[in-house]
């Protein structure tokens, strides 16, 4: 479920934004940060963090498996990529199997469970990042400064 946004003319403090995103991931108890990558790619600043599920889930289908957030660019022209991966995310359809569906995948995305779903977490993180972009930008945040790419 990759989601990419391009932000222009916001004068964003990308280091502070990235630090707050990492903090956000650290606050989720089911996630464990396994890798941070910082550097320069083709002369442009680049920061990326990957967090994975810390424990074996109680159900699989649709459960959050990993999160990756990348910030690349310069204060007035940068990209954000947010990826949230789910186990067997393409098998959420009811009746898509036999024995195994009743096994690890059966109780999957049941409403009301405490399962951390990728889709729910992704939505929450996306909204939180929007707040953080506003917080760390020196110029006014407006929709026309943002371009979204969804595959």
């Amino acid at each position: 479920m990759p989601f990419v946004r391009r932000y222009k003319d916001l004068s964003t403090d990308l280091n502070d934004l990235y630090t707050d995103i990492v903090r956000e991931l650290q606050q989720e108890k089911d996630l464990e940060i396994v890798k941070e990558t910082k550097g320069v790619v083709n002369d442009v600043g680049f920061r990326s963090v990957t967090a994975i599920r810390a424990n074996v889930p109680r159900a699989i289908t649709g459960t959050l498996r990993e999160v990756s957030v990348t910030v690349a660019g310069e204060p007035d022209d940068w990209l954000l990529e947010l990826h949230t991966g789910a186990w067997f995310g393409n098998m959420v359809l009811p009746g898509a199997g036999g024995f195994l569906i009743a096994g690890p995948m059966g109780t999957a995305a049941a409403a009301g469970t405490t399962t951390l779903l990728a889709v729910t977490y992704g939505r929450k993180l996306k909204n939180r990042i929007k707040d953080l972009v506003k917080k760390h930008s020196g110029k006014k945040y407006t929709e026309e400064k943002i371009e979204t790419f969804i595959s």
Binding site: P2, V4, R6, E32, V34, K35, T37, K38, G39, V40, V41, N42, D43, V44, F46, S48, T50, I52, R53, N55, V56, P57, R58, A59, I60, R65, E66, S68, T70, A72, G73, D77, W78, L79, E81, H83, G85, W87, F88, G89, N90, M91, G97, G98, F99, L100, A102, G103, P104, M105, G106, T107, E147, F149, I150, S151
Partner: protein, 123 residues
């Protein structure tokens, strides 16, 4: 790019398959195994391995970022899931951006590396 296959009536040694997949991942020089999970979910065995890219890539678009392989089930009925994540993979289409795309972190396209990894895992 999730990929799931269900295997039936093969009497597969799932531990051996998992070990060989792990070896396959470990031999990819850019990857580092960061987590393995082994347990049961609703009474069915479950194994999962996570690997992430070790270094800062020379280019972003399509470059392999992480790999996850999961095996769940029993010898005669099991599922394999392979996930390979790539940076900015939905921006491979030419002309989807401006300055950043041309001179920034996304050029050149390095999808072959991710595809090669996936091909190795699908063998």
């Amino acid at each position: 790019m999730p990929y799931v296959k269900r295997y039936k009536d093969l009497n597969t040694d799932l531990d051996a398959v998992y070990d060989d997949i792990k070896y396959e991942i470990q031999t990819g020089k850019e990857l580092n195994v960061v987590k393995e999970q082994d347990g049961t979910v609703n009474g069915v065995p479950f194994k999962s391995i996570f690997a992430v890219r070790e270094s800062v890539p020379k280019a972003l678009i399509g470059t392999l970022r992480e790999v996850t392989v999961t095996i769940t089930g029993v010898s005669e009925d099991w599922l394999l899931e392979v996930h390979t994540g790539a940076w900015l993979s939905n921006m491979i289409t030419p002309g989807t951006g401006g300055r950043e795309v041309r001179s920034g972190p996304q050029e050149p396209y390095q999808g072959d590396r991710q595809e090669a990894q996936q091909e190795a895992l699908h063998r």
